[in-house]
Symmetry: none
DNA sequence: ACTTTATCTTAAGTAAACATTAAGTTAACC
DNA sequence: GGTTAACTTAATGTTTACTTAAGATAAAGT
């Protein structure tokens, strides 16, 4: 789960980043509104924490800008403003939640969890920095989208689902290609090559290793 | 949209009921926890407003009891308690939001809307610059009306409702055409072609992408 | 170090899936 | 009952992915 923090006060940023990372989240930070906006254009986040008062683009405008393109990613405002009118403005701009400073870290974590539990099971498999979202049929490496064909996708998914276990060529042929008889073909090699190329995986010491004479194995490092 | 209010202070109940009804919501009330629990067993609500201090069963226990059976209906706590520890307890029990008394009616309404907009049928669906008004059965692209036939409309709506998720050909055939068996037909292609033509969507890099070998996916860009 | 064998890599041929058009069929409306 | 619009089927064209095959490279065995 990848969280973006857009906040200019360094103390708060560090406090949040450290705390959220300890909770197991991947955290990216931006110290002003326009930097935050840039990050959102290029990367995919699962949740956004937004300060109200920000240099360059303020939180409210940033929130509106995000919502033009993306209505789904949860946005939580962090703010010292505690007038009701401004709370309402934020919610109207498309925010999903609102926490007043000073807030307790525990409460923030609980509120974050609420938004994640609302996002129903989109089953995301991971292999190191590789993410596979089967409902979207999309693969990310370091949050960059990589386009795979049907077979490439199936093969990669198969290896990742069997992470840590050696998959023999015959098993792969049986489960991915549905070829149930002995058959000498080089198809697997060709697809492995394509996957490694597209995901930029080195043959030696990377997430997918070749077990000579047997097959392949996937592993987080 | 049907809202249940579980609250024992008569003044607040009346204030909320009247206000929410003016906003167009259907409102049902319960003045203690056990009565609220009974209502939930027998009726379906779209959102529940829950007081913390209640006769018979308190709000926290009621919340837990609801969540045993139903994990999805949004629950918002209304409470005078403002200690962080208790806020957290409420969220952990499965509540989705938390408003401290005294609260502004406007803020409450905005928070209610947040939970509804996360749910289904907000009547107007959007896909980038495409707007679908399902109640009026009308589609706009860049605010220009586009006339679609029944099936075209259903197919587009289906894809947009499942925005971000791949819809397989079989799913589409099942859910839009109500064909539940394997059947080789090219109907989907023909309608996709019609939709793309009418909405002027390019095959590459547009709101509706083809996932070769699987189906189609709609996405805001 | 040479041979053997397995895997990697590339390119070209083949097959499958999709896009597109037109014609045929059904259903709705006047 | 005739006419129109919508839906489906079928045929053709186009694109993309899959497979085969063959040469290059790397690992294991002698």
């Amino acid at each position: 789960m990848h969280i973006l923090i857009v906040e200019d006060e360094l103390g708060i940023v560090q406090f949040l980043q450290q705390g959220l990372q300890e909770e197991g989240y991947q955290v990216t930070t931006a110290n002003d509104g326009s930097k935050g906006f840039e990050l959102i254009q290029t990367q995919k986040f699962d949740l956004i924490l937004l300060d109200w008062m920000l240099p360059k683009i303020n939180g409210l405008d940033l929130c509106k800008a995000i919502r033009v393109k993306d209505q789904t990613t949860p946005i939580i405002f962090l703010t010292a403003k505690d007038t009701i009118q401004e709370t309402i403005e934020g919610l109207k701009a498309g925010a999903n939640d609102y926490i007043k400073k000073p807030f307790s870290f525990e409460e923030l974590v609980e509120r974050i969890k609420i938004h994640f539990r609302n996002q129903k099971g989109s089953e995301i498999l991971t292999l190191g920095t590789i993410k596979i979202d089967s409902s979207k049929h999309v693969v990310f490496k370091n949050d960059e989208e990589v386009s795979l064909t049907q077979r490439e996708f199936e093969l990669l998914t198969y290896l990742v689902k069997n992470k840590g276990k050696v998959c023999t060529r015959n098993q792969i042929l049986k489960d991915v290609w549905e070829i149930n008889f002995e058959y000498d073909t080089g198809v697997i090699d060709v697809f492995m090559n394509a996957i490694r190329k597209k995901l930029n995986l080195k043959i030696e010491e990377d997430y997918i290793k070749t077990i000579r004479g047997i097959g392949y194995i996937a592993n987080d490092l």
